[in-house]
């Protein structure tokens, strides 16, 4: 199966008052179309790893190759484009923009990408995603007026609108109850099957990690095991 992410000898040190070694010589490969969990306790380096994989942070040393492209060599603008086209982000908090409707929020990555695709086609795609995630009824509402679970599902639609090859999710169910958590995880698995999208889910919830095809366990910035 095709490698979608290759991580080679990745080191991340935060230089603050004291130097903190967040990631200590990590190497692994991820295959396309699978659902991965990056599992570990708080402070194990899992969010740092996710940020580097998504081009939001840069490594101190080592290489990250995403879909055949060494992202450590990209400049700021190229990284922004890379995030827009290849990555879908889902955060612990939904981070929808209050001034835009749910539909506008979902379409935002498409607007930013300035693709020449037909707007009607993209809008229909957004509606289709809203149907899959069961938020069709709230598309024209503003985020402040919809429920927490619906907002998070809108954030998932936003992550998927540009058909990214990889979705990076950082504790995506951290703010949700168990019922909504299960809905979201099942959605990830459904979309993975439908679109062959690779999911990398950062979590400290063992139950969620058990849903995933592979689990990378981190401890103190090092891979403890891959199961």
């Amino acid at each position: 199966m095709k490698k979608i992410i290759e991580v080679k000898n990745l080191v991340k040190i935060y230089h603050d008052k004291v130097d903190t070694l967040a990631l200590n010589d990590i190497s692994f490969d991820l295959e396309e179309g699978k659902v991965y969990a990056i599992y570990g306790q708080s402070g194990s380096g899992k969010t740092t790893l996710l940020n580097i994989l998504g081009g939001l942070d840069s490594p101190t040393s080592g290489k990250v190759i995403v879909d055949g492209e060494d992202i450590s060599k990209l400049n700021y603008k190229e990284l922004a484009l890379f995030r827009n086209k290849k990555i879908g982000f889902i955060f612990q908090f939904h981070y929808l923009i209050s001034e835009f409707t749910i539909l506008e929020n979902i379409l935002m990555p498409f607007f930013i990408g300035k693709d020449k695709a037909d707007y009607e086609i993209i809008k229909n795609k957004a509606i289709e995603l809203a149907k899959i995630t069961d938020i069709e009824d709230v598309l024209y509402k503003y985020p402040d007026y919809v429920a927490g679970g619906q907002r998070q599902r809108a954030a998932i639609c936003r992550a998927l609108i540009n058909d990214p090859k990889i979705v990076l999710a950082d504790e995506p169910t951290g703010n949700l109850d168990s019922k909504n958590t299960e809905i979201i995880v099942n959605l990830f698995l459904k979309i993975n099957k439908l679109k062959n999208t690779t999911f990398v889910i950062v979590t400290h919830n063992e139950k969620i990690s058990n849903y995933c095809s592979k689990r990378i366990e981190l401890k103190d910035g090092k891979i403890e095991k891959i199961t």
């Binding site: 740092t48 998504g54 922004a80 955060f91 923009i97 990555p109 607007f111």
Partner: protein, 397 residues
């Protein structure tokens, strides 16, 4: 479909907490209105003062030197004009007159009143109505048809008790008691004490009366379009000027007026400058607030693909929207304040005390400069916004 995403986002962000945004827009509008109002009032005051002081006076004068005995009259003024034309196209003058004048005693034999007046004759060379007689005529008409007709100033009308059709008698400057009577056909009131003491007669008649030959005059008067250029034009005229006459310009004898005007202009400039700074700071502070409020949104927009240039544009557009609204409403406020001011400063007859002077170029430039300050404030705020790292927001939450 959104054509300009950055503008669209800026517009929505500006609408967020609308009341607070509108208060800032209002503050900017008031600032702009005060700035424009001060500028208009000072410009108008200056223009009115200049018009009143210099509108009916020569800006540049050629006359015999004070102590000159031989050349105590200007002879053949055409030669002087021809000479001037070598350096400065005389058609660039607004008005030029040859003037013959003299101090004489005037009488109204009906009531035995007398008064020292100036008897003046004019030859218009360029432009018409140097002394604004038509404009300031309060009675009769301004067209002298025969040598025995005159137009008199308001001071003479009041002090000698003369009216249209009455005879004013002027005493000749001879040792004998010789008088000549002239029929009053018009009365004017300029508001200028010196001018209102003039008796305007037919030029040839005045020359005869005062002992001047046909090609002899007392002075040559010039008016220019921009009164403040008088010193520069005088310098140009002086080149090749080889006549035994004195060339002078208004600034030399009106130093105090000039200092007053210059002090007024400077104070106006400073007031406007500080208002502009306060507008800039208002915009900067509200945008900084918006940047702080929106740091999560900025982080997410960056995470999903916006680059620094897109983020900068959002804040520059926001400042442009706020600034444009502020300037636009400010202009509306300016005209409201001006109309209120004009209504409050009318005289008993309902005539405004002075005319407003609105310099279009100044306002266009000023508006552009205001918008530049506003956009610059947006740019400064955007520098702060682009420093937000999306990874920090994600880690922080």
């Amino acid at each position: 479909m959104i054509k300009n995403l950055e503008f669209f986002i800026a517009f929505r962000f500006t609408k967020y907490r609308l009341i607070r945004t509108l208060i800032i827009v209002f503050a900017i509008a008031v600032g702009i209105a005060v700035q424009f109002f001060v500028a208009i009032i000072i410009d108008s005051t200056q223009a009115n003062l200049i018009k009143r002081t210099l509108g009916l006076s020569p800006h540049i004068t050629i006359k015999p030197y004070d102590n000159e005995k031989i050349n105590d009259k200007i002879k053949n003024p055409e030669n002087i004009l021809k000479n001037i034309d070598n350096n400065f196209d005389v058609n660039n003058f607004k008005k030029v007159i040859y003037l013959v004048e003299g101090s004489v005693k005037a009488y109204n034999f009906k009531n035995k009143n007398d008064l020292n007046v100036r008897f003046v004759g004019i030859e218009n060379v360029i432009g018409e109505d140097f002394y604004g007689i038509s404009e300031n005529l309060i009675k009769g008409n301004d067209l002298i048809k025969n040598p025995q007709e005159v137009i008199i100033g308001n001071n003479i009308y009041e002090k000698l008790g003369l009216d249209i059709g009455d005879t004013i008698s002027l005493k000749k400057n001879t040792n004998k008691d010789e008088y000549e009577g002239f029929r009053v056909i018009g009365i004017f009131k300029s508001g200028n004490q010196v001018l209102d003491n003039y008796v305007f007669g037919e030029r040839a008649k005045v020359q005869d009366f005062l002992g001047y030959k046909r090609d002899e005059y007392s002075s040559l008067y010039f008016q220019i379009y921009n009164v403040f250029d008088s010193d520069k034009i005088k310098k140009i005229l002086e080149q090749n000027f080889n006549f035994p006459y004195e060339l002078s310009e208004w600034k030399e004898s009106n130093k105090q007026l000039l200092n007053g005007l210059s002090a007024q202009s400077q104070s106006s400039f400073f007031i406007q400058f500080f208002i502009l700074i306060s507008i800039g700071i208002s915009i900067l502070s509200i945008l900084n607030m918006k940047v702080v409020e929106k740091y999560k949104e900025i982080g997410v927009l960056k995470a999903i693909g916006m680059n620094n240039s897109n983020i900068s544009k959002i804040f520059i557009y926001m400042s442009f929207i706020i600034g444009f609204l502020g300037v636009f409403i400010g202009i509306v406020f300016t005209f409201l304040i001006l109309s209120l001011f004009i209504n409050l400063t009318k005289n008993e007859q309902g005539v405004p005390l002075f005319n407003l002077v609105i310099k279009t170029e100044y306002f266009i430039l000023s508006m552009l400069f205001n918008l530049f300050v506003v956009i610059f404030a947006g740019y400064i705020s955007s520098r702060k916004a682009i420093k937000y790292e999306p990874s920090k927001i994600i880690i922080g939450n």
